[in-house]
Symmetry: C2
Subunit: 243 residues, 2 copies
Amino acid sequence: MNGIGAHEIIIETPEHAQRLEALPESQVEKVLWSYRDRILDLERDERLRYVLILKNQGWAAGSALNHTHSQIIATPVIPKLVKEKLDGAKSYYDYKERCIFCDMIRQELADTARVVEETRHFIVFTPFAPRFPFEVWIYPKKHSCAYADISKEEIMDLSRSLRNTLQRIGNVLDNPPYNYMLYTAPNRVPRRGHWHTLNDDFHWHLEIMPRLTRVAGFEWGSGFYINPTPPEDAAKHLRNAKL
Amino acid sequence: MNGIGAHEIIIETPEHAQRLEALPESQVEKVLWSYRDRILDLERDERLRYVLILKNQGWAAGSALNHTHSQIIATPVIPKLVKEKLDGAKSYYDYKERCIFCDMIRQELADTARVVEETRHFIVFTPFAPRFPFEVWIYPKKHSCAYADISKEEIMDLSRSLRNTLQRIGNVLDNPPYNYMLYTAPNRVPRRGHWHTLNDDFHWHLEIMPRLTRVAGFEWGSGFYINPTPPEDAAKHLRNAKL
C-alpha cells in the first residue's frame, strides 16, 4: 500500500439551504450520474483499490459543511468493513452457490413486512437486524456487483427511490441527520490476488442510517448495536409516510 | 446462544454532580474492586460468555444519566470486537510465540514518545495508530489475561493511574465527554471449543476514548478512522498536564 488517495466533494445544488431530498428528481439524477462518472474516472488509476461514496447530512451525522454535498473517498486499500462484506458474500456464495444479496431480495419480497417501497428496478427495505432505528437499505433487483455498470433507466428509477426514501425519513422523523454509503465492487483492474469471483458474489447497494441514537461505550467496546426499534415497525411508518 | 444476559450499573459515588476523576483515590479504588467482584460473580453463570465493563461520561459519549456511573454488560456470546482482538492476539502468538500486548509494552517503553505515565504496575500510553484524538490505553505490565486476577497492590496503582489519566484528559481538553472500556478474557469456564491458549495470548487492558470528533459516513462506511492528532503530540500534552 502506498500513501495515495482521492477525496472529492460533489456539491449537489447551487442553492445553499436545501437538503438532497428537497431537490427535483432530475437534480438527484444528476448527482447519481456524477457518482458513476467519478468512480469510472478514479478507477482508471490502478493504485486506487476502492472508491467509497457517502453522504453526511447534518451536524450529528458528522457533516462539516451546511451546503448539501456528497463525498467520494478513494483509498489504496479495500476498507476494513468493505473487506468484511466481500468476505461474507464470498463465503455465502461458496456454500450456497447463490448471491446473498439476491437471496435477501427474494426473502424480503416474499415476507413484505420490512419492505418500504418496490419499484421496477429497486427494493427499499429495513434490514432484518438493523444497527440503528430506521436504518434503510436500497438494493438493485438485477444482480450487478458494480454501481458503475448502472443503466440510464436504473438511474432514473434510483433517483426516484432514493428521493422518496429520504423524504419518508424526513417526514416520519422530522428531518433527522443521516448518513448514507454506496457499497460497490473494488476496482476491477486485473492484478495479482484480484477478487475473481466478485461478479458473482457481490451486489452493489446503498445503506441509509438516520442518526437518532448516540453511539456509546457498549457499541464501541463490543461492535454490537442496541436498537430499540423493530425493523417491521420502522418499515410500516416509512411505508405510510406522506410523499 | 440463548437470550440471556446481565446489565448492571455501578454508581460510583453518592454525590450527584461529580466526575469519576474528581473523586478521592480511595473511591476510585472501590469502583475498581466492584468491577472485579461483579466479573467474578457473573462468571459463575456459565451461560454468560463475556463480561464487558464500560463507562460513558457525558451526553456526547452516550451517557443517559448525569450521575457518574459505570456499566457492566454480560452477554451469552463473545462480542464481535472482542472476538477480533482475541483472534488477532492468538495469531500473533502463534507466529511469534510472544504476547502482542507484552511486545507493545516493551516497544512503547523503549521508544517513550507515546508514554503518558509509567508506574510500578502500569503503563499509560497513546497507541501507535489511535482511532480518535487523545485516545489513551492503560496496560498492566505483568502479563495476565483476566482483570479478575488483579492484586491489591495493582488495584491501588491502577486507581491512581486511571484517576491521573482522566484528570490529564480533563485538564488538557476541558473536561470532554469520554468512554472507556475494560477488555478482559472471556469467561474461562471449561467447555467445548473453549479458548485454550487464552492465558498466554491475551492480556487484559483498558481503553479510554475522549469524544472530540464526530463519527461520520467515512468511518461508518469503511471501518477506518480519520484522526487529525498524532499520538506523540497527544502524549506530550497529557504528560505535561498539571495534576
